[in-house]
Symmetry: C2
Subunit: 361 residues, 2 copies
């Protein structure tokens, strides 16, 4: 779950902004490439099965692991009555809180803060203009007081008026150097090891794995292949409008300051419908922003489509190794989906008890 709206972002979370140190934007592409290659290597090693036949070695034996492994066998073994052809094996994953850590604040929000700081020398007027003024002073309440309009202004200032290619480079440089405020690790090292194993297991079984994120599609695409093995064309996300232009004869796609899709809540099935054009077989989420995606995936039996469907919710129950939050959280609120999971038979992962590891070692 992830939508950069003020009402979902707590004062506590915004407070964490101060944990970030000022970092000059590195333009050193060679360095970024080294980090990228290293990440790729690390991911490759991580996803190799530790046990000979266990596709999910970081999962304790328990109901969730059994549910995943059994469902995958059921739809991929040719003798199974529920066999599904490879072409229809689509699995969709929320990103924030499902594939990587979304606490104490969305990673994209940390990017926005850093980006505003980087851009302020070119926009001296921001020092006296809200919500920039409050953000630059670290005055969280001042930013929140500007409401959704303030958040929109921050998003537009940091996510538009440049080409998709330029933005891609900026994000790639940032993700290579930025660090999580609490652990000091790169954000791409704060992905969930058990979920990397699910992604790898599904791909081994012929699935196409997609990210369907409330975050910006252009924010996630630059690093998703290295972090998760998911190529840009399998990342669906929120987006602004794009415009094709010839600049001195060179074609560019410009990012406009206008929302095109909020890929959150009811926007997730819409994003899936636009990009994939068929109903996923499996869906993975962690919050109420994923509820419609999970509903869309698990069509009730009795309707036209009788094929087996699977939905899973990552329940953050581990305050020691990660964070514990659900019904009243400001980020990743998991309330209605927990009730819906009980009604619809969705698998709910008890992170504390079912995950041997949380992050890659």
């Amino acid at each position: 779950m992830h939508a950069l709206t003020a009402n979902r972002m707590s004062v506590d979370a915004w407070d964490q902004f101060s944990w970030h140190k000022e970092r000059p934007m590195s333009q050193n592409l060679a360095n970024a490439t080294k980090v990228a290659l290293f990440s790729m290597l690390v991911v490759t090693v991580w996803v190799l099965p530790a046990g000979a036949d266990d596709p999910l070695p970081s999962w304790n034996d328990g109901p969730s692991k059994t549910a995943i492994v059994d469902f995958v066998s059921r739809v991929t073994e040719e003798t199974s009555p529920d066999f599904v052809p490879v072409a229809e094996r689509i699995a969709v994953f929320d990103n924030d809180g499902t594939l990587w850590c979304e606490q104490p604040l969305y990673v994209q929000a940390a990017f926005v803060v850093d980006r505003v700081k980087t851009l302020t020398p070119q926009h001296p007027e921001w020092r006296e203009l809200e919500p920039f003024k409050s953000l630059l002073k670290g005055d969280v309440e001042g930013v929140v007081a500007q409401g959704e309009k303030g958040i929109a202004a921050l998003m537009m200032a940091t996510h538009s008026g440049i080409s998709v290619d330029e933005f891609n480079t900026i994000v790639s440089d940032w993700i290579a150097t930025a660090r999580h405020p609490k652990t000091g690790k790169p954000y791409t090292a704060m992905v969930y090891q058990p979920m990397l194993e699910v992604l790898a297991h599904l791909r081994n079984k012929g699935f196409k794995t997609y990210i369907v994120t409330g975050g910006g599609v252009d924010f996630v695409r630059p690093w998703a292949e290295q972090a998760y093995g998911i190529p840009p064309e399998q990342v669906i996300g929120s987006r602004g409008k794009l415009k094709f232009e010839l600049q001195d004869g060179s074609p560019v796609l410009m990012k406009l300051a206008e929302v095109d899709l909020i890929d959150d809540g009811p926007g997730k099935p819409v994003g899936i419908g636009q990009a994939i054009g068929r109903r996923p077989l499996m869906a993975f989420g962690n919050s109420d922003g994923d509820i419609q995606m999970l509903q869309w995936t698990t069509l009730p039996r009795g309707a036209a489509d009788h094929s087996p469907r699977f939905a899973l919710i990552v329940h953050h129950t581990d305050a020691e190794r990660e964070w514990a939050y659900d019904r009243n959280s400001h980020i990743g609120k998991l309330d209605k989906s927990l009730d819906e999971a009980a009604v619809r038979g969705w698998t709910v992962v008890d992170m504390k008890n079912e995950w041997k590891e949380v992050f890659p070692q």
Copy 2:
């Protein structure tokens, strides 16, 4: 190229509507499945290479065949200095006039006419309401006189207010029974054999092949896998807005009467940017509606991206076996792109002289 706007559709083309016979909408799914399986079989047989080593047996030896085969070798042979990793091998294809016949009128327009006739008993008011009244009378000038607003009304009446799943079924049934007005063949038999061979050759070499059509994405997806081997998630096209709804607890995606993307001209790079998120390596088109897609693909050398790029235009020069048209055509107008092709070094196929076969035998 394909956009259902009045100014691009000639009176001559609309005249062809009368060639269509009234056909009851077949709800016989079993029958549709049989036709589908048969089409798949036929496509499979077609794309098998006729010659042992010739990936493009329906192409005469000539500059276009050489350009395609050489470029593909150049980017896929590991020892080549222009080698491109599999993940970046993206090829995009316009549909109407590039992969299948767009004369004497866009296939989707024929669908609209049939659909209006089918729906009229439920909408008796259409008999007195333009543009339906003129269309039902076969009065082409009357329809054209309604301008873009009239076309939009026809599109909305036939393409919205139902779910994506329902629309999919309607299109699948229609494509299984509809016939080309001149040849009497199914439309899916009027695909271009030489282009099927290009699609197969590229996929054999690790490319992902995409359709990027000005036509409706929901109109093309239901049959693109059978006709071209292109799955729904690799079809990009024009689309209306979608809305997620629970109907009696069942999730549906409804097609709204509001345009979301016109995937034509400058909209094609936008559609590619939204769905793929990286620049294609090869692009294939046939009209001015494809010019920006071909520009976007073949970034001028000297810019940031130095990798090799390929663009091709199908030039319809064969009045005997198909149609001959270019600079002043009402459908598939090829004017500026021909000039641009000369400047940018795009490959232009002389259909009459370079294609051994046009349609599958």
